[in-house]
Every structure is written in C-alpha cells, then in structure tokens.
Symmetry: C2
Subunit: 320 residues, 2 copies
C-alpha cells in the first residue's frame, strides 16, 4: 500500500486538502472548501472538513496521517504554528496551528505557501533532487521559497524568502515611493506584483497617460492586468514598454541578487505575471543575465514551475 | 586528551595553520609562513610547511588530523577543492585541494575565508549555537558567510555568500558605474570596500574635490583610507559626509535585503571598514533599520565579530 500524506493549501477564498502519495508525489484525492467566513476558528473548521473529506476519499481518517502540513498565503512563524500576517484572510498573529490541531486531533506543521510550493517542486517537480533551489513567484503578490542544502529554509522565525519585501527603491523624500500591502515603503512587490502593476496603470491612465491599454480594455480600467500590459508591449505601445523595462529591471536585479547570494542550482519561475507575460519574461531574463555574478550563474538553470497550483499542497503534505 | 583539528587561513601574503581544540575552539598551536612565491605548487608547499610546524608544536603529524580545512581569500568550487578565483594570489581555476592533498597526504576541504570565518563565529564566537547566521564583512573586500539551518551554506557550486558582487548600481549608459575587481560592473564591493573607497577618494581629490581629508593625510593621498574618511566625517567635512551617506545607503540596503531574504537570528559584522569606522557604522545601522522588513528584523541581533582574525582558521579546522 502506498504511504500517504495530507497537505493543505490555505488561501483567502478557499482551503484545499489533498492526499499525496509520498513516493510519487501524485495527488490521490483532494477536496476544496470555500471559506464561509474568515475568523480563525471557522477557517480551522473549514480546513478540518476539507481534510476529512479528502481523507475519506482515500479511505483514511485524519489521525491516520500522523500529521498534516499547511501552506498559508502569508507569513508564518515557523514551527510555532502562528500565522503572523495573512492579508487575504485579514489575520495577524493567529495561532492557527494550535486551532487546527485541536480541530483535527493531529500534529500540524505550517509554512508559507511559497515555501511549500518550492518544497513540492524540489521533491516532485521542476527541481527534483536538487539541493539548492529558489522558487521565485510573481503573481498577485511577489515572493520566493528557498530550498537550501536539501532542506526547506524558512529562517530563524520562519519568515525567510520574502523577496517581495526586499526594498528596491531609495527612500529619499524627492522620489515617488510606493507603499506596499505589508505597510512598508519601497518593497519589490509594490512595483512588480500583478495587483500593484494594475493599480499603478489605472492611476496613470486616469491621470491622462496615453496607451493602447485603454483600447485593449475598451475603456474599462477594472480590466487592466499584467496580461493586457504584455499585449500592449508586444504591439509596441510606448507606455507599456517603458513600464515593462522598469518592472523587468527591478525583478531581474532582485533575482540576480538572490542567485549571487545563494548560488542555487536552479531558479523556478512561477506566477501569472512572469509565466503569462512573454514580453516581460524575456526582459527579466535579459536584466538577470546582465546582473548575476558569473560564478553563480555558471551551472544555474531557470525553469518554469512544473506542478502549478498543486505544488503547494504536495509540498505541504511532504513537510518534515 | 583533547580532540584536535587543523585549520589553515590562506591569504595573499601568508598562510597560517592552527591546531584547534574541537571542544573549546581554542587555538593550541599556530604557525604562519609567508609566501615566497605565489605559484600554486609553491603555495601548497608553504601551506604544508605551516601545517607541519604547527602540528609539531602540538606533537602531531599532519596525517593524525584525518583531514585539514582551508579558508581561501577567493571563490572556491565547494567540495571539488578548486579555487575559481583568488585575486590576491593571482589564481584562476587552481585545483589547490588536490595539490595540498598530495603535499600533506591527508584529505583537504576548501572554502571561502568568509564562510570559514562565519563557521568559526557560529561554533565558538559571536553566534555560538545559532542555526541561522550571516557574517557580513566590510574590509579591503566585501562579502558574507552564511550559516543556514546550522550548516555552512556554500551553495550549488560553492560560491554562495558573494554579497560584495550583488549589483547595486543601474547599468544605464548615463550613470557612472564602477568596475569591480571581479571584472563585473556595479558590484556592491566596487563602491563600499576599503580599497575601492580609497581609490575613489584619491581620484576625486586629484580631480579637485575639497575635503579635510587632504589635510588629515598631509597631502599624501597614498595614506587615504576608510578610517581617515571616518575622522573627516566626525569633524563635519561635507565631502566625507556625503560619501559616507552614499556608502551607508548601499551597505545598509544590501544587509537589509540579505536579512529580509534569509531571516537569520544574527548578523555578525566584521572587517575594518565597518568595525573601525563608527560614523559609517551608525549610518549603516540607520539605513538597515529603515529598510529591513519588520518581520525578519524581529528577534534579530547585530553583533561585532568576536574571534577577529582567528575566526577563519578556527572555522576551517572545524569544517565538516
């Protein structure tokens, strides 16, 4: 009989639980539950229900898994089980591990969802068997998951990998510095995440900027997103090109710094803003190539994420 | 009887071998040999001589140590024993591990000297027992050594920790970008190492810049160094203050990025430019505090290196 593990992907809209085959990484059963409300106690019940449902489909009670792993879209304090900050759930300092342990009666291990995704990709995806791997995600948010020396590196408190909150803009009073969702100023994410790019473009178009983006969304600025910008760039739109140069400069420089510092064997790229925008991606790679140290770049490969949305639950199930 | 280990610090001027007590980290015997010449074969003989001398002082033949560890001022390709690049020795792609193994008849483990220093500080110095530690060195060069998850992180090829070669200046043709000793453009080290700071100040003073630095070195620009700049800054010199703001902005931002990404428990500061220049250090700390993510800064401490020049040999001796 296959050795099975239970992983959970906890997002702002729903919780997905999956039974994962430890030997193959295959998802043998999965169940998704939407959040009825976002209070920690109710979310713990929702997660517990998803766990029971997917376990049942595999013929197992929660307790049979020994422990469960959870990837949370937010900052988690390592092995304490405390969710420090999960903006999509509106949580701060929530002892979610404890709540879920009580609801399920098994030990719970919590980590950031990019950490679990990186772990999933390292175990059964785009970086199988490599000891030193960074997953760089550019989607609605920006972040990374680090596998170093063959182990998940989540740092002293558990908040390592916050590439999106590395400060990339000077804080001189004379420059326009954007405030990030985390509350701090000048974060990479504030300039390069899908949400922030869309917000900025809406602001600038509203203020009168000229761009084909306006036609592509037929005047409905709510439909502005990174894909539209990429299309505009491909059509030679001056505004979109300048924006993409700026975004690519920030992303390429930041990924190059990560590689120079950590010397991974592979960088896995994930998230719709980088994977769904070929114009942006080619510019990011150009900047990256120019700015990474040659000694760290030798022997490095860049790959697309392989497991997609499954990486997080698979990695969560296999957390150690 | 104490368990003893052999460590070597290989610099551009001499090789120092030390017999280290594994349990206390104490150096029980040491011997320093100057390089007569820098060809790899001759350096291997010089190192072997230093090893034999210091071993003899402790009553041990080299072979009795089982293996020896070497910290090299340069980039090393992990467990292959190849020194990729050691500017002070004028080496590129030198299989020094092999040469030294032949000269000594024992297994040799080679690592960058900041990696060995970080390991020494983690085992017996300023970060004793902490699992996640970064040593940041700002001296004649700039770099870091990373201990992550309780182990030395030297990366896929062995060149992790190259903080000094993270690119910090845009590469637009309209900005003055300095070339680093490594041959690349825009590296942190090119703007913040003692050697590069001194070279830049000499250039600018020669070109007519006004500064009390000129008086402090009594017109002898060869005597310009970071300490003199710090003294000038403390006296309110406009030129030195502007330079220190710029250098502190780069160093503080880079260290903040490292901490945001890796979430260490402690950052150890080493090197004369940061430790010997209080004006600069206080500015670096100010920038760092403003630019580090709050979640990674919580629980973090910054400490001065404790073992000084001994950190490298102690860490080398205790390499695993």
């Amino acid at each position: 009989m296959a050795a099975l593990a239970m992983g959970i992907d906890l997002g702002g809209t729903n919780a997905r639980a999956a039974v994962v085959d430890r030997d193959s990484g295959e998802i043998v059963a999965a169940h998704k539950e939407p959040h009825r409300e976002r209070s920690p106690a109710v979310v713990a019940e929702t997660v517990a229900r998803a766990v029971r449902q997917s376990g049942r489909a595999a013929g197992m009670e929660p307790v049979a898994f020994g422990h469960v792993g959870v990837g949370v879209a937010g900052q988690c304090l390592g092995r304490t089980g405390v969710v420090l900050n999960a903006p999509n759930l509106g949580w701060r300092d929530v002892p979610f591990g404890e709540l879920l342990e009580r609801a399920l009666g098994v030990r719970v291990r919590i980590a950031n969802d990019l950490s679990t995704a990186a772990w999933g990709e390292q175990r059964f995806g785009a970086a199988r068997g490599l000891d030193d791997v960074a997953l760089v995600f550019v989607g609605s948010g920006v972040g990374s998951g680090l596998i170093l020396g063959g182990r998940l590196h989540d740092g002293h408190r558990g908040v390592a990998g916050e590439l999106g909150h590395v400060k990339v803009r000077p804080m001189r009073p004379d420059t326009a510095v954007r405030r990030c969702g985390c509350g701090e100023m000048g974060c990479l994410e504030a300039y390069t995440s899908g949400m922030n790019i869309a917000a900025r473009v809406r602001e600038e178009l509203t203020a009168g900027a000229t761009s084909v983006v306006r036609d592509l969304v037929q005047g409905d600025l709510d439909r502005v997103n990174a894909t539209v910008l990429d299309t505009a760039c491909a059509r030679g739109d001056t505004y979109a090109r300048a924006l993409w140069e700026e975004v690519a400069d920030l992303l390429g420089t930041a990924i190059a710094a990560l590689v120079t510092l950590l010397n991974p064997a592979r960088v896995i790229l994930g998230g719709g803003v980088i994977l769904g925008c070929p114009e942006l991606q080619s510019r990011v790679r150009e900047v990256f190539d120019a700015r990474v140290s040659r000694s760290a770049a030798a022997g490095l490969s860049l790959e697309r994420a392989f497991l997609g949305d499954d990486a997080g639950v698979i990695g969560a199930a296999l957390l150690e």
